[in-house]
Amino acid sequence: MTAVQTRPPASESEPRTIARKRGRITVGTALVYFAAFFLAVLWLVPFLWALSTSFKTETEASLGQPIHWIPETWSVEGYRVLFERGDHLAWMINSTVVSTIVTVLTLGLCVLAAYGFSRLDFPGKKVIYAVILAGIMIPPQALIIPLFDVVSALKMVDTYWGLALPQVVAPVMIFILKRFFDAIPRDYEEAAKLDGAGHLRILWSVILPLSGPILAAVGIFTFIGSWNNFLWPLLVANDPSIMTLPVGLGVVAGGYGLFYAQNMAAAILGALPLLIVFMLFQKQIVKGVAGVGLSR
């Protein structure tokens, strides 16, 4: 909002595109860049402060005053203790396993179902699709009590499957994929059909190759969502050895007391995997929010 307001009226007599072509920098543009840069740095402060604290000695970290952004004595003690204790690494492995199961299953099941709803006709199709779509409106948090009952009846408490399977139910992904498949012209499939290809073959060699970006978006979002899921893993993983990273950090690591350097080292290591995923896939994620976030 401030961005546009701060532009001086003087520059408005000229269409923006022309101004840009000449490479002129107006006061307004400079202000926009300054404000944007300032906010972006401000937004990074918590990360930077955590990073700074994680490299301090416990004494310096807990002392606090005066504030040192650069540690007086650099120390990797916090990280060393973390690795010695070993549970952090175990949680990371658990999170990786669970999120991978969730992502692979979600992609597999949702792609099959979306293709079925998009390309095939069968008895009860409309009813099933309507029931699945209605599921978009059900908040998973409102189901935790009976869901826990179901999962314990299936003897899945404290197992990877118990953690993963309830997260595979993502009706919104069916909606997104079906909408995408619907938009793929049927012409592409005609040739394959004439060659006698079955539906699985058409899905695999015609539809999927055309769906790269949407599959990436759905996959990355499912992975991030599952990695960061807190409430369900909190309920179903009671044994610290099966806990995922967010639960382990929140429940177990929180209990180690006021070791700030160590805590921040855990925070930095906890943030790192998905920050790396984010940096690698920034383009797909930004596009994916538009698609998966359903703004378009």
């Binding site: 401030t2 699709y129 009706p171 995923v277 929010v289």
Partner: protein, 312 residues
């Protein structure tokens, strides 16, 4: 919605219109069911069945201790409606929603407008604003609780330095809910920011060029071009935000304790959780869950309408 399943695209691309009609009955077979069955099975076991089970439990005295279940009719519901603590926690959830939604929507838009203009810094801005969204909630609360500390905490240090509080002022204690809101805004703003940014990028520049010729100033352009064109996005952002805020649990649960004055029973999901897993009263917790469900459903129905209108 239902008409969409017969895709118009298929009709228009079919080479010979009559052949489609001839083909239609052949396509209608049980084959398609096998494609949707795997997902539908998981969906039924882990979503539909718990929904039904929860409704059933809400009329029983079902307990986590596993003693036999008896039907007690509307007792749980009557208790829930008269439970002052439950309504307190529901009000707290609503209060959090009221406090967090406006900044999350308005700042999301403001940041997106900035990033849209400052294109040369695009990569850096997207990284900085969205990165917090991808990190686990416990990391977020660990960092923020540390920043909120009275002694050695970053925030109170600078507040003190700028004369905005004494040495021992503790943001986290003075207004704990405000602290949760600030943390939540930092954590989740990136999502709304990206929704708005994507929407801004779909606005053709020609629209603005026409306004430039008419001599419109930036404020006029924002008010009469950009904002109206973002109406749909804004509606969706608000609805998604309301749903997310009503579901507050994670960051509250993690920040309660740790020296704050947040009461551990102060949000509704926490109250449900405690009724079920601390008090072992699954039946009562199920009734409470359904009350939350109805609130979210009302908001979600609006979302659903927005979505289906887009699909037309």
């Amino acid at each position: 919605m239902t008409t969409d399943t017969e895709t118009p695209a298929a009709a228009s691309t079919a080479k010979q219109p009559p052949s489609r009609a001839a083909r239609a009955p052949k396509r209608r077979s049980w084959l398609g069911l096998w494609f949707v069955l795997p997902f539908t099975a998981v969906y039924a076991v882990f979503l539909l069945w718990p929904m039904i089970l929860g409704l059933y439990y809400s009329f029983t005295d079902k307990s986590l201790t596993g003693r036999p279940v008896t039907w007690i009719g509307l007792e749980n519901w009557a208790e829930a409606f008269g439970d002052a603590k439950a309504w307190d926690s529901l009000w707290n959830t609503a209060w959090f929603t009221i406090l967090s939604t406006p900044p999350l929507v308005i700042l999301g838009l403001a940041f997106a407008l900035l990033a849209h203009r400052a294109r040369k810094m695009g990569w850096f801005l997207r990284l900085s604003f969205f990165a917090p969204f991808v990190i686990p909630v416990s990391v977020v609360t660990m960092i923020w609780v540390w920043m909120y500390q009275p002694a050695g905490g970053l925030i109170n240090h600078y507040l003190g330095e700028w004369g905005l509080g004494g040495d021992r002022l503790w943001v986290f204690q003075e207004d704990a809910m405000g602290s949760v809101v600030i943390t939540t805004v930092w954590w989740t703003l990136g999502f709304n920011f990206l929704l708005y940014l994507a929407a801004l990028q779909t606005i053709p520049t020609e629209v603005y060029e026409a306004a430039d010729i008419d001599g419109a100033n930036p404020l006029q352009k924002l008010w009469s071009i950009t904002l109206p064109l973002l109406k749909r996005t804004t509606a969706l952002v608000i609805v998604l935000q309301l749903i997310n805020s009503l579901r507050i649990f994670d960051q509250y649960y993690l920040m309660a304790g740790g020296g704050s004055n947040l009461s551990p029973e102060n949000v509704f999901i926490q109250y449900i959780y405690n009724a079920g897993f601390v008090g072992f009263r699954v039946g009562y917790a199920s009734a409470l869950s359904y009350i939350l469900f109805v609130f979210i459903l009302i908001v979600a129905l609006v979302q659903f309408r927005l979505l289906s209108r887009k699909e037309d």
